[in-house]
Subunit: 455 residues, 2 copies
Amino acid sequence: MREIAVTDDARQIHLNLFLPTTGHHEASWRHRGARPGEIFSLSYYREIAAIAERGKFDSLFLSDHLAVGRNYEFGPGVHLEPLTLLSALAATTSRIGLIATASTSYTEPYNLARLFASLDHISEGRAGWNIVTSWSDAASGNFGRTERASHTERYARATEFVEVVTKLWDSWEDDAIVADRASGLFADRNRIHEVDHVGRYFKVKGALDVARSPQGYPVLLQAGSSVTGRAFAARYAEAIFTAQQDLAEAQAFYADVKTQARSYGRTPADIVILPGLGPIVGDTEAEAREIERELNEATIPQVGLRHIAARFDGADLSSYPLDGPVPLHALPRPDDVQGAKSRSQLIYDLIEREKSLTLRQLLWRLAGARGHGTVVGTPEQVADRILGWVDRNAADGFNIMPPYLPGSLADFVDKVVPILQDRGRFRRDYDGHTLRDHYGLRRPANRFTGSRLAS
Amino acid sequence: MREIAVTDDARQIHLNLFLPTTGHHEASWRHRGARPGEIFSLSYYREIAAIAERGKFDSLFLSDHLAVGRNYEFGPGVHLEPLTLLSALAATTSRIGLIATASTSYTEPYNLARLFASLDHISEGRAGWNIVTSWSDAASGNFGRTERASHTERYARATEFVEVVTKLWDSWEDDAIVADRASGLFADRNRIHEVDHVGRYFKVKGALDVARSPQGYPVLLQAGSSVTGRAFAARYAEAIFTAQQDLAEAQAFYADVKTQARSYGRTPADIVILPGLGPIVGDTEAEAREIERELNEATIPQVGLRHIAARFDGADLSSYPLDGPVPLHALPRPDDVQGAKSRSQLIYDLIEREKSLTLRQLLWRLAGARGHGTVVGTPEQVADRILGWVDRNAADGFNIMPPYLPGSLADFVDKVVPILQDRGRFRRDYDGHTLRDHYGLRRPANRFTGSRLAS
Ligand SMILES: Cc1cc2nc3c(=O)[nH]c(=O)nc-3n(C[C@H](O)[C@H](O)[C@H](O)COP(=O)(O)O)c2cc1C
Ligand SMILES: Cc1cc2nc3c(=O)[nH]c(=O)nc-3n(C[C@H](O)[C@H](O)[C@H](O)COP(=O)(O)O)c2cc1C
């Protein structure tokens, strides 16, 4: 409170719940408050979504990898499919946004377009799409390929994919359905458009078999942070998930993306930037540290080592002593990594910055949120960390990654959210209804309506 | 009642609700009781599902065509995507089965397997998959092709598709997740299996990223009635939707499929046969006829003509006088039809059987349920029609196709269902919880568990 004064404008922050099975900490499921036996039960997620909605979160978000998690022996490597789970949660919630991850690498644009349009209808305008290209090799084997396409190739396909999907979402203009009982006219053919897309990767006739949805398009989110990923995000993303540990780097990322957005004719306000944050909240700092220690001690080193291997195209550190220094020379340089470039860079930077880290300490640093920021402290300290980054233009809000569920989410909602509200920085209740309302985003114009009116 | 006595065994019947947007009658949406403005609202389907569940229906079912309906100008040609809508309804209902149509022609087995496994989890064992191969040409253009594959080719792909999907559903054995907090073992690798499928159409490594679902597999349904379609159904289907107008033909179909099932090592009870039935219920027969007349008069001939064209590979009857005889010579023979063989056969047979039909009368005969059976009468008459077919081994129950929604479903539930219950032929309440329970189907064994225990 001393250092971080409320700025004059009291810019409103955004909060998204990143919702995994048992929590984000590698050992979450072993915590006594976790419920690993319920990860396939709707009632469990319903309870969690209700807590987030009580906390007035903008949205909740499900990740997706199209393959069994590599550490499935030592933690949940399976989960409900995002679009089905979010559709069910659309029926049990009323305001919170619902964001599903879906890959552009292993599905057809027509199938994806209708799933998301449908979720947007079902939720009355609360859908979001986290666009990913699937960096992990594991998925490719489930779709007839032996390895994933190159980083460049994946983003090229993603770009065309998004073009096709947004065209399909425009294919029925907002007022295309007239449903005039008397004349027998149901829909106006002049307001329905074949997309007739023929490109390098896709050939799609259209129109979509779902009418334009409440938000026009579901909110488009993106989570790639490499050079290519940032350019893609600057062009298409309306919100960005990103892993950031360091304030200066987060500021640089924030400035870069918002500046790049201008070159695509967009304004900085068109993109909401949400770094990940794993909060461990205690009534005292010591209590918070104790929760962290307990979770870290329940980790299995092999799990963390495999995560590192996965980020660094297979690099194996398992022969190095856990209490010795981190063997940086055994890792490929992030520039050469074909998988998750930006995440490997982040880990690389962390090791270079904190030279005295042992391998075990590194594993623990990554155990809480796999490289995302973490904060351990009192509710006030956590609120300060959040507002500190927002006030310094490093974030527009956070992608909250509770270490275990539902307990640490409830702590955050009950203890941190009221502070953010009291400081006038976070909504006390929803004023809008759609996810675009919550994030302050415009409803996209329909490309066909424009051309029809112009002609 | 006179003619159709209750048989000794009082065989229990099954009822499925075939749930389109505004109803099955071609002019449904123009009926004053219809709600064409709500076809994208969850609340509308929630209300309908609640009526069906109040009526103790076994299940409800959504069809799917992956393209805008050809008559979109004159009736709903767009709709919510089935898996998302059913996932939402899983949250608003508690017992009724939830069956989604999904095509094997335009999706990947891994994607489909996880969507359905997830729906089965979310609904606690109420999911069903209506396996179709997409007979309409329209879909192909949305997936990069210029025309659909041949009938034979589509079923060959469907066969391999089902093999892969069921393998994936078996890839996590039922007890694979141990979640032992103390030891840190989450899942037992000996109970998790890569499927390593390499076939003519698909190459899939597996395992699935969703654990085995409550029903083992969602119930498998099928709706193809051609020779190839029947063989496929006899081999895989646990329930069959079929269009039947004529008792004798329905009996022949019933006997044929149940007999064929034996050649795949199955018993007749392993398959539930559900012909479609569009019921128009009135308190008197005259009242029912009046509802039918009103609906028929609201049809637009062009719509019915296009339906016929679609069934008969494009045959255009629009130049023939509506009140003249049906020009049978202008239709290709069903044997030569590449699209929906069995449905064209049915229409062909109907025309041959009732030689005096005018073209308009034919259109009206098809308007109620597109070639499925219809019954117009009092609640007693409708109940008699249902039990009559079941007692004569033409059906195990019916796929109920209300002419308009929610009104004609409510009539059926409030007036016909109690008669079926009073006659001891239909459940007064659910006794089971899963769709398999309702249909009396066994939970499938896991192929991997068998081999593991045997070795
Ligand atoms: C918060 C967050 C969530 C992510 N979720 C997923 C996911 O669910 N599935 C996935 O394939 N990648 C996910 N990613 C990874 C990125 O989408 C991206 O594919 C990866 O970082 C490689 O892109 P890049 O090289 O541009 O960074 C996520 C990244 C972040 C920061
Ligand atoms: C009640 C019923 C519902 C059907 N629903 C669909 C559907 O939703 N999508 C589809 O492509 N075909 C649907 N069909 C068509 C069949 O699945 C099948 O694809 C078509 O009849 C061609 O197969 P066949 O030549 O073996 O009859 C349905 C058929 C029936 C009887």
